[in-house]
Structures are given as structure tokens and as C-alpha cells.
């Protein structure tokens, strides 16, 4: 089932949580709403679910207007960050809840409920825990029960609010792979909220990057990571170096570095900010012909697939982070305190925002 968000604005008294949000989710897609806390992503999810109403705008599910429809009638499954399991019920009863509370006319017979719950327990790989109580389970297990409970009512849309937010790193990683597989099997249209860019990039078909109640960019993980549309997206998705410079007639100058603006010829002359990711940096022992930024090597972390190092610019003392392959690292043979010349392989330039 497709989801369409049309011009949603939500204000709480004087605070604007969402501003003119437009979004279209195709049937069977897995979408991540990504952004820092307070960016409105959870509010948007709750409006999709019907847990909150928008101030203006409308929500369409499968091209049908549902803005004023109660959450119970929208056919959405909602998974809460802190699971919200019913403490006094066993795992089995938690999952069966959605079926048992149906009006008598549409309630399936007990045997059907029983079979359905068993099937779901198997799906979330907790067959042997059916008669336990939620407090006897680990966080990861609880979240899987919450997911099974939401799936029991056969929702056409699955909404997950920071589903792995309260779990430790290892379990998070396991569960998000598992969620990805589950989505591939079930193919139910899903939207999940996260503030963790790795999670969004790894799991989602498309990522919606949000900031301050607005959508900054919508795109596949590759698009948003490789071609960030705004400085915010660049900054938010992974580590990044930031260079203040000037644009002049299609070239950008940062310190002693002078680079041609390739596809970005439309930047007006004036102050600009260049962004470059740590692994997109070339390091040299001598300044080349194009010029480079001079820096001193600071802390070195040579462990792992790449060597990470911090450098301090000699002209203004700003910090630069770099990542080079182990092979390159051995060739360079740099040590702390040595002089190094930094040249970005690609620099993404945005005009400096006027304060």
C-alpha cells in the first residue's frame, strides 16, 4: 500500500514541528526517516499512524484520504521504541491481542489465532518463548515480540519508531539485518525512524533526511551519501571535513589550494564552504602544482582496514580528518609532528549561508 503525505504542517503552540512536508512512499518500499533529535521525524511517523493529527495537510493511504481516520481503522502496525508490551500478558497473548480484541463478528476462532501466533513466533524466531512474560526477555527479544504483535493484525503499512534505539550496538546490528530480510520476505510498506545514519543507509530503500521540521533530501542511500543536496545532509551523513574558502570565476580557493569547480559551475562568486569526506583526501609529502593545504600530523590511529589520522592546518589551526588505505599508509610512512600536504579528491562546494 502506498503512502502519500501532502503538505503536512504540525505546530505545537508556538513551536513548528513539521513544515509543509510532502512525501510519497511506493508500495512495498522500506523508507528511513533520518535526522537529529527534534527534527520532527517521530512526529511525522505518529501523524502517519494517526496517533497525532496534523495542523494542516492530509495523509493518503493507497490514494484514500485517511487524515481523520482513527489509528485502529488505518490498518497500520506501529512498533514503539520502548516496545510498549503488555506486561501482564505472556508473549503469546501479547501477539494474539490484536486478533482477540476484534468484534465478535470478525474475530477468528481460537484455533486460527493459535496457529497465527505460532507462525509469527516462528517468524521472529522466538518459538520457545511463547509462555514467558515480557520482563523475562532481553531487549532484542522484546522488540521482536513487539514486531510480531504489530504484524499479527496483518497491517498494510508498518511504522517503526526508533526500533533499535534502546538496544546495544551488537544486537542493533543483528536486528537491522534481520529487519531487512524480513522486509524482503513480507514486502509490507514500511517506514522507520532513526537518528543513526548507518542504520538508515544499511536498511532502507530510500532515506528521507530531515532537519528542523523540513525534508532536506530524499534519495537512495547512495544518492544521499554520494550526492548530498545540502550542507546539512553532508554534515549529518558520516564524518566530514569543512573548509571555508572563496569562489571566484568557477574556481574555489581554500588557503593555498586552488581547485576548479567541475559540475558545480553555478556557485556565485563569494564566500563558500567546501565539504570533503575523510576518505576522499589525498596526502602528499610535497605540495603539488595545483597547491595544497599544509598541515601537521596529529594523532594517528593505524588500526583496522584504514589508517585514520588527524591533522592540524598550519594556516588557521583547524582540524582535518583523513583516512588512507594501509598500503598508502606504509608508503607515506608519516609520523606525528611531520608536515603533510592535503588535497581533496573531490570537494563539494556550497555558498556560505548568510547569517
Amino acid at each position: 500500500m502506498s503512502i502519500e503525505v501532502r503538505n503536512i504542517t504540525k505546530t505545537f503552540r508556538t513551536f513548528t514541528a513539521l513544515q509543509e512536508i510532502n512525501l510519497y512512499v511506493k508500495t512495498g518500499e522500506l523508507i528511513a526517516l533520518l535526522g537529529p533529535s527534534g527534527c520532527g521525524k517521530t512526529t511525522l511517523l505518529r501523524i502517519l499512524a494517526g496517533l497525532e493529527g496534523p495542523t494542516t495537510g492530509s495523509i493518503l493511504l493507497n490514494d484514500q484520504e485517511v487524515t481523520d481516520r482513527h489509528i485502529g481503522e488505518r490498518g497500520v502496525g506501529f512498533v514503539f521504541q520502548h516496545y510498549a508490551l503488555f506486561r501482564h500478558m505472556t508473549v503469546f497473548e501479547n501477539i494474539a491481542f490484536g486478533l482477540r480484541v476484534r468484534p465478535r463478528a470478525t474475530r477468528p476462532p481460537d484455533a486460527t489465532i493459535d496457529a497465527k501466533v505460532r507462525e509469527l513466533l516462528k517468524l521472529v524466531q522466538l518459538e520457545w518463548l511463547g509462555d514467558r512474560y515480557p520482563r523475562q526477555l532481553s531487549g532484542g527479544q522484546r522488540q521482536r515480540v513487539a514486531l510480531a504483535r504489530a504484524l499479527a493484525v496483518e497491517p498494510t503499512v508498518l511504522l517503526l519508531d526508533e526500533p533499535f534505539g534502546a538496544l546495544d550496538a551488537k544486537v542493533r546490528k543483528e536486528l537491522r539485518r534481520w529487519l531487512r530480510r524480513l522486509h524482503t520476505d513480507l514486502h509490507v510498506t514500511s517506514v522507520f525512524v532513526t537518528h543513526d545514519q548507518d542504520e538508515a543507509l544499511e536498511v532502507a530503500d530510500r532515506v528521507v533526511v530531515m532537519n528542523k521540521g523540513r525534508i532536506e533530501q530524499i534519495g537512495t542511500p547512495e544518492e544521499v551519501y554520494e550526492h548530498p543536496a545540502t550542507p546539512f545532509v553532508y554534515d549529518f551523513l558520516g564524518g566530514v571535513n569543512l573548509f571555508h574558502g572563496r569562489v571566484h570565476e568557477g574556481r574555489v580557493q581554500v588557503g593555498d589550494l586552488d581547485l576548479a569547480l567541475r559540475e558545480q559551475g553555478d556557485i556565485p562568486d563569494g564566500p563558500a564552504i567546501g565539504y570533503v569526506r575523510p576518505h576522499e583526501i589525498d596526502l602528499h609529502r610535497h605540495p603539488g602544482e595545483e597547491g595544497a593545504i599544509e598541515a601537521l600530523v596529529g594523532r594517528i590511529q593505524p588500526v583496522g582496514a584504514v589508517a585514520r589520522l588527524e591533522m592540524v592546518r598550519t594556516d588557521n589551526g583547524e582540524l582535518i580528518e583523513g583516512e588512507v588505505s594501509q598500503e598508502q599508509w606504509r608508503e607515506l610512512a608519516l609520523s606525528t609532528g611531520e608536515r603533510v600536504y592535503v588535497r581533496p579528491k573531490s570537494l563539494r562546494v556550497f555558498p556560505e549561508p548568510v547569517e
Binding site: L51, G72, F86, H88, G98, V101, R102, R135, R149, V153
Partner: protein, 278 residues
């Protein structure tokens, strides 16, 4: 057990504190109660039976236990509603209402009794309007019930309130998202969570009502066989220097209360077990 005790622990002082607890409880609770039994033993079985099975005394048991139970039920019902309103809604004067709930705790019971009698007597504020409707409160069993309900009110509110406060809003949202109606959410999700606390509150209110004396004696009128509560009967016997007789009735009350509390505790254990079972 002895194995556990010998283990070094980060919480020392178990032996000392347990010893003190037992000593203190003996001094304050057990010894006086044992004295009651000793006092009763001055009677022969015949005399004992006469004292406790006297028709007037039996009528007082019925009144005391019956009305205490009904008062606790009333308090359970309205206490939950009051707690719900205090937790769920914010309205001007909420803090004031919240403080009002504790008033029956703080007020000397005799004062409460006099106030209730004044209000509900035939020409009192409320009594004068109830009288034409054929409802007499003061000096009837109904009056006793009003007094017992009054003094038991805070117990249920104060035990249920924190549980309702801790109940996550998300649980109700989850139930709604699964298609549960509001009524189903309340009966199947909220009520079971609150039930153990409600039972505790009910027990406290019931126990409190059983022993209540001060507020009842004014409003009941103390008519033998009709509005005479057991604690009053004990006082009457004491005033007639019938210490053994008073102790005998007290023993009956003590044993009956103990058995009732035991049953309710059993219920509580049973309902709590479903949540913490291992």
C-alpha cells in the same frame, strides 16, 4: 539458607537488622496481642462462648464486617476514578483536590464523626434534603457506611495513583493501533495493570474500616442490634470492667481480620504472580 547467610555480602548487617526487626515487632505488635489471648484465657469456654456469641455481639459483627466490606468496595470504585482524574487530566485546582484526598488521613476521626453527623442529621446541610426522599443517614446503618467510606477513601487513591502514573501512554497507543476499542483497552490493558494495586488499596481501606471507632460512634447512634459496631461493644464492656469479655470479642475480631487479610493477600499473590512468574 545458611549457605546464603555465610556468603560475604556488600550489604552487611543482616543479622543485626533482622534481630532488631523481630525484637521490635514482638514488642510493639506480638506481645500486646498475645496479652489479649492471655486475658481471654481467664474465661472458661462457656463464658467465652457466651461473650462472643451473644446475639447483640453477633449483630455487631455482621454490621462491622459487612459495612466495612461494602465501604471498601465503594472506595475501590470511586478511588480508581479519582486517581484516574488526578493522573490523567490537568485542570485548575488539581493540586488542591489532590491534597483534599489526604484529609481523612489527617483529620482526627472524632472530628470527622461530628462533622458527618452535623451534615447528615435530619436538619443538617444534606440531611434536610435527603429526609423528604425517605433517606435517613444519621443514626442508621447507612450513616455507619458513610463514615467508613469517608475514612477509607485515601487508601485506594494513594495506592492506585502511582501505578497509573507509571503506566506508559504508549501501552494505550499500542492497544489502539492493534484495533482495540477504548473499552477493551481499559478492561484488558489498563485494569489488569492496576488490579494488584487496587487490591492492596482495597485491603487497607477494609482493614482501616474494621478498626474504625471515632468517626462512627457519633453518626451511628449506637443502637444495640442495629447500629452498634464491634469496637464500640468492646469499649462498652471495658467501661463495665468486663475486661475478659472485651478481650474475648477482640480475639474474635482479631482472628477474623487476620483470616480475611490472609485471603486477600493470597489473592494478591495470585494476581501478582502472573506478572513476575519465573
Amino acid at each position: 539458607m545458611s549457605l546464603i547467610l555465610k556468603q560475604p555480602t556488600v550489604l552487611p548487617g543482616f543479622g543485626l537488622t533482622l534481630g532488631f526487626t523481630l525484637f521490635y515487632l514482638s514488642l510493639i505488635v506480638l506481645i500486646p496481642l498475645a496479652g489479649l489471648f492471655v486475658k481471654t484465657s481467664a474465661l472458661t469456654w462457656d463464658q467465652f462462648w457466651q461473650a462472643v456469641a451473644d446475639p447483640r455481639t453477633v449483630a455487631s459483627y455482621q454490621l462491622t464486617f459487612g459495612l466495612s466490606f461494602v465501604a471498601a468496595l465503594i472506595n475501590a470504585f470511586f478511588g480508581v476514578i479519582i486517581a484516574w482524574v488526578l493522573v490523567r487530566y490537568s485542570f485548575p485546582g488539581r493540586k488542591f483536590v489532590d491534597a483534599l484526598v489526604d484529609l481523612p488521613f489527617a483529620l482526627p476521626t472524632a472530628v470527622a464523626g461530628i462533622a458527618l453527623t452535623a451534615v447528615f442529621s435530619v436538619n443538617g446541610w444534606l440531611g434536610q434534603y435527603l429526609e423528604p426522599l425517605g433517606i435517613t443517614v444519621a443514626f442508621t446503618p447507612l450513616g455507619v457506611l458513610v463514615a467508613l467510606t469517608f475514612i477509607g477513601l485515601p487508601f485506594v487513591v494513594r495506592t492506585v495513583q502511582p501505578v497509573l502514573q507509571d503506566l506508559e501512554k504508549e501501552i494505550e497507543e499500542a492497544a489502539a493501533s492493534l484495533g482495540a476499542t477504548r473499552w477493551k483497552t481499559i478492561t484488558k490493558v489498563i485494569f489488569p495493570e492496576v488490579f494488584p494495586a487496587l487490591l492492596t488499596g482495597f485491603t487497607s481501606a477494609f482493614a482501616r474500616a474494621l478498626g474504625e471507632y471515632g468517626s462512627v460512634v457519633f453518626i451511628s447512634g449506637n443502637m444495640p442490634m442495629r447500629t452498634e459496631i464491634t469496637p464500640l461493644l468492646i469499649i462498652t464492656k471495658l467501661e463495665q470492667y468486663d475486661y475478659a469479655g472485651a478481650a474475648a470479642i477482640a480475639v474474635v475480631m482479631l482472628v477474623a481480620s487476620f483470616v480475611l487479610l490472609l485471603i486477600i493477600n493470597g489473592l494478591q499473590w495470585w494476581s501478582g504472580r502472573r506478572q513476575v512468574a519465573f
